[in-house]
């Protein structure tokens, strides 16, 4: 038992040192409430730049976790949480894009996978929402648009759709009053719908609709493979 007691003392000494050190670090890292961020006013180019960062993080995730295999999206950890109200939905999020302080400001971008298109190419379609953060809370859903990921010879090829101010406004009218802003919302019902030419999606509660033309410009992936 004396050996154990010695081990205990050594652990205790290491513990006391570690606590003092890390307690000090923690005290430095988390102090004070920062000032407010500027209100949002994004151009289409700025939104595309933000969405491109989400796209790059998703590409990197596919490369790192699945060697490029999109099936890893089915294993996203959020789907396993017992807390999830809609664990059957696949959502990939990229947070703190453009943030000067993590969690305080910047943008959170989330893409809900709507499904895979039938055809020779394997094309996966997302509805991508961009949320503005200010003073440590989500303040506005500033953009919603479609994005498609096609794998050609193992390489990801992206198409990003245009914004629709009308669809965003229509969708926003169904938001739950008083609830913390989220995308996708707990009650949303997005689905792919038939339309030509291109890809269309609808949120059935609001009737809001988005289109991704077949000739939308291609964004080549930049993630390492």
């Amino acid at each position: 038992m004396s050996v154990i007691a010695t081990e205990g003392r050594l652990r205790l000494a290491a513990l006391l040192f570690a606590v003092l050190l890390s307690g000090g670090l923690a005290g430095c890292a988390y102090s004070g409430r920062p000032a407010l961020a500027a209100p949002n006013s994004l151009t289409d180019a700025e939104v595309r730049g933000i969405v491109a960062q989400w796209q790059q993080r998703l590409d990197r995730h596919l490369a790192d976790e699945g060697v490029g295999d999109p099936a890893v999206l089915a294993d996203l950890p959020a789907l396993r949480s017992p807390q999830a109200l809609r664990p059957g939905r696949i959502v990939f999020s990229a947070t703190d894009i453009g943030a000067t302080v993590a969690e305080r400001d910047g943008y959170d971008v989330s893409g809900l996978l709507l499904g895979r298109l039938q055809g020779a190419d394997r094309t996966y379609v997302f509805i991508v929402g961009t949320i503005d953060r200010d003073d440590f809370r989500p303040t506005a859903l500033v953009d919603l648009r479609l994005a498609s990921l096609t794998l050609r010879d193992g390489a990801p090829v992206w198409r990003i759709g245009d914004a629709s101010v009308a669809a965003l406004a229509r969708y926003g009218e169904r938001a739950e009053v008083g609830a913390t802003l989220r995308f996708p919302g707990d009650r949303d019902r997005f689905r792919l719908v038939d339309c030509l030419p291109g890809i269309c999606a609808e949120e059935s509660r609001s009737g809001a609709r988005w289109t991704l033309p077949v000739d939308a410009p291609v964004n080549q992936a930049t993630a390492r493979r």
């Binding site: 081990e7 205990g8 652990r11 000090g24 089915a74 017992p82 807390q83 959170d108 913390t180």
Partner: protein, 546 residues
């Protein structure tokens, strides 16, 4: 050793977290599997090390008394404590690890650990309060595991003070006292200690806070150490022992992917649902600071169906958490004014629940299946067993998510379609395989689930089992005709996933499985008589595992 152990509980006692200030608009990562892996590794290391010591003692001809001491439940418990201490030495270090880029990268877009920029303990108006300095300096982050949000200081309490309780419990039991008396003595041995108790220097005296969550974590820790070698009761569940004797030493029988550890994490650890008792001089200001957060807190702590809870529901939760499933764990509350969601956020008497209509298309039967509530489900029969929700998930999918095989069996016996796919083409069997639910998966196979059903990524249940390294379900799938050569849309076969994930045992079975049941048997994956291709599985094909 006890003194060292007692003092090692010091940082836990001095740290505070609160679950009123949570990351708005963000979701926590479920760290249950991550924590389970750490705890399982510690138990495995302890079993191996103890086995070596026992073998050495026998080889050296040490006394039977010494060998018996090494083989005792108390000795292995102490070893497990030592390895857990190395795994999670302090909550501050653990917080830093969780916030590191490698860990965060595994949970894209999710919060792994959260320290609020402005906690209710940060108020500048409390600057004259000397306990504020302690609360500010020693802070624990909030994390989520098993569906519960809690401070990482609870883990340190669980590991260290839980072991102190356990030592007391063992001592009392060795004197012939009853389980109940020994358990009570264990709790009150530290509650009366001026240094380690929630009343003393490391609780109310230094921080102004008597944390019921800390005490619940201590109590759960004691149960955990007992559960190493004996069954324990957590609510309605009886958890089988984590270890069993194996020759002269111990063998770990709990599987790392099971809830052998997360079963101990209960809402008692959440300091918003199980509120603290606060020193009177802080009460008014803390009430005001909680009031500022009421809208967010009520929105955050919705019920499992996504509805805002009422005051009565929050009060009911508080009452329920004031005991540990009926047992006293040292809970105390303020008698008059309180800092709780129920008392502060519903002060105007408003107590209405949001519209109860389930606009996700989930019936009462669906929710009973989701809860794994067999009796509740039976009372709702007959019903449409294949009615899907907004995401295409049927009651059978919901039952699979609950992990309750009995509910799954009840549903398929009642005629539920085991091959009904949800959104993205996910069948109940694929879901079971992805969650590592062997017993549920076998029940579905027996009910006629297609072992080769594919989702929109081209994955089969075999892909999911191979990726998890779930040898037992993978063997059952192969015996029921699952085709190991099928590749997913990315071109990966189950074998490639197993090799990539270094799941050697299942890789071996998959190589053998490609050659048929006889080769599978030769690879240690079962016998041809244990259920050949297309034949029903035998009763003993899957044991009832922890």
């Amino acid at each position: 050793m006890l003194l060292a152990g007692a003092l090692s509980g010091w940082p836990a006692g001095a740290n505070e977290s609160e679950q009123y200030s949570l990351p708005l608009g963000r979701d926590f990562a479920d760290l249950g599997p991550h924590l389970s892996k750490i705890v399982h590794a510690a138990i495995t290391d302890a079993a191996v090390r103890t086995g070596d010591e026992i073998a050495d003692a026998i080889a050296n001809g040490e006394s039977p008394h010494r060998i018996a001491e090494l083989q005792s439940a108390s000795y292995i418990a102490d070893k497990v404590w030592g390895y857990l201490f190395v795994g999670i030495p302090t909550n501050e270090l653990f917080d830093l690890a969780l916030a590191s880029p490698p860990v965060k990268a595994r949970y894209p877009g999710l919060v792994t650990m959260y320290r609020p920029p402005a906690s209710i303990y940060d108020d500048p108006l409390l600057a004259l309060d000397i306990t504020k300095a302690v609360r500010t300096f020693f802070r624990a982050g909030s994390i989520s595991a098993g569906g519960v949000v809690f401070g990482t200081d609870k883990l340190v309490h669980f590991i260290n003070v839980g072991r102190i309780y356990h030592v007391q419990y063992e001592a009392r039991m060795s004197r012939g006292e009853s389980e109940q008396t020994a358990g009570r003595a264990a709790i009150y041995s530290t509650l009366s200690n001026p240094f380690t108790s929630e009343y003393g220097l490391l609780g109310t005296l230094s921080t102004g806070i008597y944390s019921n969550g800390d005490l619940a974590a201590n109590y759960a820790g004691m149960l955990f150490y007992r559960n190493l070698a004996e069954p324990v009761q957590i609510g309605a569940r009886t958890l089988p022992p984590i270890l069993e004797r194996d020759g002269a030493g111990w063998r770990v029988v709990a599987r790392p992917e099971s809830d052998f550890f997360t079963a101990f994490i209960t809402p008692h650890w959440n300091e918003a649902l199980n509120p603290n008792r606060y020193a009177g001089y802080t009460m008014g200001r803390l009430q005001a600071l909680l009031a500022e957060r009421c809208a967010d807190a009520v929105d955050w702590y919705r019920d499992p169906q996504g509805r805002r809870r009422t005051r009565a529901q929050f009060e009911s939760i508080e009452r329920e958490l004031s005991t540990y499933f009926g047992a006293d764990y040292g809970y105390q509350s303020n008698s008059g004014r309180k800092v709780t969601i129920a008392s502060v956020c519903f002060a105007d008497g408003s107590d209405e629940q949001a519209a109860a209509a389930d606009d996700l298309g989930r019936s009462d039967l669906w929710w009973a299946a989701r809860r794994g509530d067999l009796e509740g489900l039976r009372q709702l029969l007959p019903a449409d067993l294949d009615a899907a929700d907004a995401d295409g998930e049927t009651p059978l999918h919901a039952a699979v998510r609950s992990g309750n095989a009995d509910v799954v069996i009840e549903l398929v016996a009642g005629g539920a379609d085991p091959n009904r796919a949800a959104y993205y083409g996910v069948t109940p069997l694929l879901l079971a395989a992805a969650h590592g639910q062997t017993e549920v998966g076998v029940a579905l196979l027996r009910a006629g689930a297609d072992p080769n059903g594919r989702d929109h990524f081209g994955r089969t249940p075999l892909h999911a089992s191979a990726k998890r390294g779930d040898a037992e379900l993978l063997r059952a799938l192969l015996l029921q005709g699952a085709q190991p050569q099928l590749a997913d849309d990315g071109g990966a076969t189950p074998l490639e996933l197993a090799v990539r994930g270094r799941k050697d045992a299942v890789a071996k079975m998959l190589r053998a499985g490609s050659g048929g049941a006889t080769n599978l048997a030769a690879a240690g994956g079962g016998t041809a008589s244990g259920g050949g291709e297309g034949e029903p599985l035998q009763e003993d094909d899957v044991s009832d595992r922890h």
